[in-house]
Point group: C2
Chain length 310, copies 2
C-alpha cells in the first residue's frame, strides 16, 4: 500500500464518482479504478459498492475514509514541520552571553528572534566567560556566543556587533562622582576592584588603559563577575572600570562616569563556521537583517536546493 492508494481512495470517497475523482487527481479514470481495486485486494474487502450509476461506501470504506483523512493530514503536517525546521523557522538555538552583554544584547536579540522567528526557542546561557563560550561552541554544546574578542582558530566565525567604552563606577559619595571630564590619569590614586581569572578580556583592557596612563592600579579586591563587582563599589570598597553596557542595569549607590581616554571593548557574536543547523542560520539572518551586525560581511542565506540534492 502506498499513499497514492490512500489519496485516490480519499478522492473517490469524497466525490463518490470515479470520473470526477480521476479528473481532480489529474489521472485517467481506468487508472483510478485499477488503483482502488488494488487497495481493496490488499485489504481483502470491498471499500465501495459500485453500480454503474452510483458509488457508495461500505462500512469498511467509511471507516477507512476517516482514517485516511487523518493519515493524509498527518503526512502533510509532517512535511510542513520538516520544511519549517529546514527553513530554520522552528528549532532550538543555544546562545551564551558574557556578563554585561546580558543586560544590553540579550533583550535586543531575544526580541528580534521572537518577532521574526516565533518558532525558534532560545536556550540562554547567561554570564559565560569568553573562553567558556569558545569551548562550548567548539564541542557543540552552544550554537551562538556573545563574547569579547579576540578568539583563536578559524573553526569559529566572529563578528563584532557592538563597541563599548570602559566607564568608571564609583560610590555616590566619591569625589569623582561630581567631577566632569574624567581622564585615566585621575584614577592613579584609586583602589581598583578587578575581575578575577587570568583570561578576563575586560581586565586586560583595564590594565592596558592604566599602563597607557602611566600607572599600575592598586588592587583592592578581585571578584568573579559584574554582579558582585558593583555592590562592592556601592559599599565604597573601591572603584572599577566596567563595560559601558552596565548602564542598562543601574545600582543604587553606584555612579557611572565617562572616562575620556579609557579603552573600548568589542562585543562580538561567534558561531561555528561550518554550522548547518537551519535555525542557527536563520537567527544569524534575522539578526543581520535587523542591523545588529553593522560590520558583518555578506553571508549566503539558507542553503540552496541543488546544494541539498548534490
Amino acid at each position: 500500500m502506498e499513499l497514492r492508494h490512500l489519496r485516490y481512495f480519499a478522492a473517490v470517497a469524497e466525490t463518490k464518482h470515479f470520473g470526477r475523482a480521476a479528473e481532480r487527481l489529474h489521472i485517467a479514470q481506468p487508472a483510478l479504478s485499477q488503483a482502488v481495486r488494488q487497495l481493496e485486494a490488499e485489504l481483502g474487502t470491498r471499500l465501495f459498492v459500485r453500480t454503474t450509476r452510483h458509488v457508495e461506501l461500505t462500512a469498511a470504506g467509511e471507516f477507512l475514509r476517516d482514517e485516511t483523512a487523518r493519515v493524509l493530514a498527518a503526512v502533510e503536517a509532517s512535511v510542513r514541520g520538516v520544511r519549517r525546521i529546514a527553513e530554520g523557522r522552528q528549532g532550538l538555538v543555544r546562545i551564551a552571553f558574557t556578563g554585561t552583554a546580558a543586560y544590553t544584547q540579550l533583550p535586543q536579540i531575544a526580541r528580534i528572534v521572537k518577532r521574526e522567528l516565533p518558532g525558534v526557542a532560545l536556550e540562554i546561557h547567561a554570564d559565560l566567560l569568553t573562553h567558556a563560550q569558545v569551548s562550548g561552541l567548539t564541542d557543540g554544546s552552544l550554537d551562538l556566543g556573545v563574547l569579547r574578542p579576540p578568539t583563536t582558530g578559524d573553526a569559529l566565525t566572529v563578528r563584532t556587533i557592538a563597541q563599548e567604552p570602559l566607564v568608571l563606577a564609583v560610590p555616590v559619595d566619591h569625589p569623582l562622582a561630581q567631577q566632569t571630564d574624567i581622564a585615566m590619569a585621575d584614577l592613579r590614586a584609586e583602589e581598583f576592584i578587578l575581575f578575577s581569572g587570568a583570561e578576563s578580556v575586560v581586565n586586560d583592557a583595564v590594565l592596558t588603559s592604566c599602563r597607557e596612563a602611566g600607572f599600575t592600579p592598586t588592587v583592592a579586591h578581585r571578584v568573579a563577575g559584574t554582579a558582585v563587582m558593583l555592590p562592592l563599589v556601592a559599599a565604597a570598597l573601591g572603584v572599577a572600570l566596567v563595560p559601558g553596557s552596565v548602564r542598562a542595569a543601574q545600582l543604587d549607590g553606584v555612579v557611572l562616569r565617562d572616562v575620556s581616554d579609557a579603552a573600548s571593548l568589542d562585543l562580538a557574536l561567534a558561531w561555528r563556521t561550518d554550522d548547518t543547523d537551519p535555525s542557527v542560520l536563520a537567527v544569524l539572518d534575522v539578526l543581520e537583517a535587523a542591523g545588529q551586525f553593522t560590520s558583518l560581511p555578506e553571508r549566503d542565506s539558507t542553503p540552496e536546493l541543488d546544494e541539498v540534492s548534490r
Copy 2:
C-alpha cells in the same frame, strides 16, 4: 512522496546504516540511497548527515523520524481496523424482537454475540411486531429480526429458531389455576383478552386453536402487547393464550398453565437475503455455530409443513 519513502527513511533512521537498512527492506543499497535522496529533494532539506563511516540525523530528520513512526503506525492501525470490520468482528447490528421473544431470545443472542464478537455492538429494538420488522428489514433500517413467520417474499431469509406452545394465563384465584390437564375445550366459557391489530400472528393462532376446539372466543378486551395483557389477566378481567416464552417474565397474580391441544408458534430469525454487511454475516455465523438454528435445516425434512402453509 509515498509510504515507500517513509518506510525506507524509517529503516535508515533506526539503523543509521544504509547497508543494513537496505538488507532489512529486502532491496539493494543503491535503491535505498536513491529513495532517501528523492525524499530529501522533495522536502528541500537533508535528513541525514552522511560520512562514509557514519550516518546521523539532522534536526529535520529527527523530527521526521518521530512523525514517520506515528504515520506508519496509524496506517497499520487503519489496515487492522478495516480488516476487523471486513471480517465482521467490528460493527453495528440492528436487531429487533417481537414482544415475548425479548424475554427469552434476546438474552441468549446478546450473550453469544458479546462472547464471540466483542467488537460488534447490538442496537436492540424490542417489542416490534412482525410486519414492522419486515418493513424495517426491507428498507434497511434493521439488519436482523426475531419474528413470527410466515413472512412473504424472498428478499428476506427466514429461519426458525424456536417453537413455543401457547400457554394459558389465568388469574391466581381462577378455577383453572388449580386444574391439571387443561384442554382448549375447557376454555369455551372464558372471556378472552386478545391482542389488537389485524396482523397479529399470535391472535391468528389463538383463534385457530379455538375454532379447532369448536368455539369462537368471547372477547373481553383487546390490548397492544404482552406487557399490558398480563396485568389485565392479573386483574381478573379475563384469560389469555400467550406464547410460552412469557414464563421467563412471571407476573404476580397470573398463573400460566399448559394447554394440551393448543397451537404452537414458531419464532424465526430473518435477514435480507442479499445482505453483505460483514458484521451481520458474522453474527449469523456465530449464532448458527452456537446451535441457535437447530430446527432450521430441517426445512426439507418437514415438507408437510410447507404443504400446510400453502
